[in-house]
């Protein structure tokens, strides 16, 4: 990966937080980072650490306490309240609920064109084409005339992403875009953003606390540490260096294997032979139920025969089972 390219958005000595009546509450201090074109960056950290605040500051919706957010070309100086968001450079997908549920999808996506329209908001042919293109990009053309209350959470999130795309900004910032979505929708949203970053050469930043998805889709991770700083790196590097374990303080989860750790409370060892997914899930079931799975043959020995949908389990005494549940019920 070439690091010589100029980032589309860079943070220069940026300090982020709130000014309250008793002084300023600093959430992140002195950040020097950048977002590159074509890259998906996941901004991770525990809840409440200030992810939304940083996203809003980067979007110009909130004034930084110090430092600057520089766009390739434009500058957002600190302390100047008049200098707010740059709607032609940054678009956002926030956690704010859109309450106008009677609005239809196409109308909502059209809001993306507002930075380019005058006071009487007349969409030109070109604007309309761009709205349709944004709908097509996230594959929701079929929803275009649906009203918002008819949509599922996952569909609504797609619409909000289409709205950001219609804004045609080089940088897109998303705050928890996968929150409240089921696994399928979460994967779909992440894959979509991944593809958009590559295909349209955009710099995309996603604030999320969903580790598994971020590790598998992000080009770069910004990890909120404890010292009001951000640790950055490729996901794999951060896993191997143990930085994640330090920040998240996992309880019973082994990040390097990607497995939840179980206590072998039965005090019994069992060895299993077989192959493929069937072997993997057999081990999973045994470990969850308190057996220690070892490789050397011991007293208990199970052979996994066949694969996937036609699997049987044969115990060393010759008993044969057709489901793991039956097998476990039989085991001492």
């Amino acid at each position: 990966m070439k690091q010589t390219i100029t980032p589309l958005l860079s943070l220069q000595a940026l300090t982020v937080g709130y000014v309250t009546s008793v002084g300023s509450n600093i959430l992140f201090e002195n950040l020097d980072l950048g977002l590159n074109a074509g890259e998906l960056t996941c901004f991770m950290g525990p809840n409440g650490i200030g992810k939304s605040t940083l996203i809003r500051t980067l979007a110009g919706l909130q004034t930084p306490l110090a430092g600057t957010v520089r766009h390739a070309g434009a500058l957002l100086p600190s302390g100047q309240k008049s200098n707010g968001p740059l709607p032609q450079l940054t678009s956002v997908v926030l956690t704010d609920k859109v309450t106008s549920v009677q609005m239809n999808v196409r109308e909502l996506v059209s809001f993306g064109r507002y930075p380019y329209l005058g006071w009487n908001i007349t969409l030109s042919r070109d604007d309309k084409d761009k709205v349709e293109a944004a709908l097509a990009e996230v594959h929701i053309q079929h929803l275009a005339s649906h009203r918002l209350f008819e949509l599922s959470d996952g569909q609504l999130q797609m619409v909000m992403i289409a709205r950001a795309l219609a804004q045609e900004t080089p940088v897109i910032l998303l705050d928890e875009p996968t929150a409240h979505l089921d696994l399928n929708n979460r994967v779909e949203v992440m894959n979509l953003l991944r593809r958009l970053a590559r295909k349209l050469d955009k710099a995309i930043l996603i604030a999320t606390h969903e580790l598994d998805l971020a590790l598998q889709t992000a080009d770069l991770i910004w990890l909120a540490g404890r010292e009001k700083t951000l640790i950055t790196g490729m996901p794999e590097d951060l896993v191997l260096s143990g930085v994640f374990d330090e920040v998240f303080q996992f309880k019973g989860y082994n990040l390097k294997t990607g497995r939840v750790q179980h206590e072998a409370y039965r005090g019994k060892a069992v060895s299993v032979s077989g192959h493929g997914h069937a072997l993997l899930w057999t081990k999973n079931a045994l470990e969850r139920n308190g057996f220690e799975v070892i490789s050397a043959p011991s007293g208990l020995y199970i052979e996994v025969v066949g694969v996937d949908d036609a699997t049987t389990w044969v115990l060393q005494d010759g008993n044969t089972f057709h489901s793991l549940r039956a097998l476990l019920a039989h085991l001492p």
Binding site: R56, A59, G60, L61, G84, P85, P87, Q88, T90, S91, V92, L94, D96, K97, V98, T99, S100, V101, Q102, M103, E107, F111, G112, Y114, P115, L117, G118, W119, N120, I121, Q167
Partner: protein
Amino acid sequence: MRLNGKKSWILLPFLLGLLFVVNLGLGSVNIPPGAILSILTGHESANPVWHDIVWDFRMTKALTCLLAGSALSIAGLQMQTLFRNALAGPDVLGLSSGASLAVSLVFMSQAAGLHLFSTPGPWTVAGTASLGCFGVFFIVILIAQRLRDNTSLLIIGLMLGAATSSLVSVLQFLSKPEEQQSYMLWTFGSLGRLNWTEIKVLTIILVSAGLMTLFSTKALNGWLLGDHYAQSIGINLNRSRFIILFSTSVLTGGVTAFCGPIAFVGLAVPHLTKLIVKTHNHKILIPAVAVAGAALMLFCDIMTQLPGQAYVLPINAITAMIGAPVVIWIIIKAKRLAV
């Protein structure tokens, strides 16, 4: 089958025209429709008194209905959008209460130990009501600059309204019955008090405020998404909020000054309109709400004359009597109110 926004929109002006004509035709003096038509087209009528009645009473009243209905409805729409609250109306900022306080001060100044005006004329009342509205408006704006949150602003508006209303009660308690009565009459609202000069003044005031609202079309649409999204698509929050609050104050204050505190229309009309014109887009909503508000006001005014030739009921008694069941019916039918 649902009519799309543009088609059903055509019905409203027709309804408005019809109600306007019916409104002109009704009154305590029975004038045949043919005579009204010839008077309106500039012909001399058989009875010169009819000419005066049609032009100086019925026409002024019908025009006042148009102005007041449109202005209050646009004000209500703006408040519902800005606060993203279906229950907001032109009076949520406490403007009407401010006007009431100022007017009650005039009517009951004796009780307060002041002798400002012996017999308050219409201009005095209008001027005082405007001052009251603007007094509250400036308090609201001062607070709005400190608070960035619209919900807090809404609550503060309601609190200001409650506080001024309680001051009015104190004044009422202290004042003589006859002073109370002239104040009570003012609070009933009246559409028939304006002469042509007053109508011209009110028209200029309301049309300028209405133009400000039109200028805010983009911002109003943006506010529907909430303040963060609005800002992210280039809406200047502070400026647009100021313009929206200012035009709402002028619209509400102008009507309250000349017609008294007319309740309910501003709250109900945006909901009624959205039932017919199914859109969120203020480019369509603003004119639609103005037309619907004028039509409802004309209708309510017609209803005030129904009990018989002898009485005319106060307009405020009618607006809520008609409006409340309609809004309840809408909520039950639509299961929800959309902002």
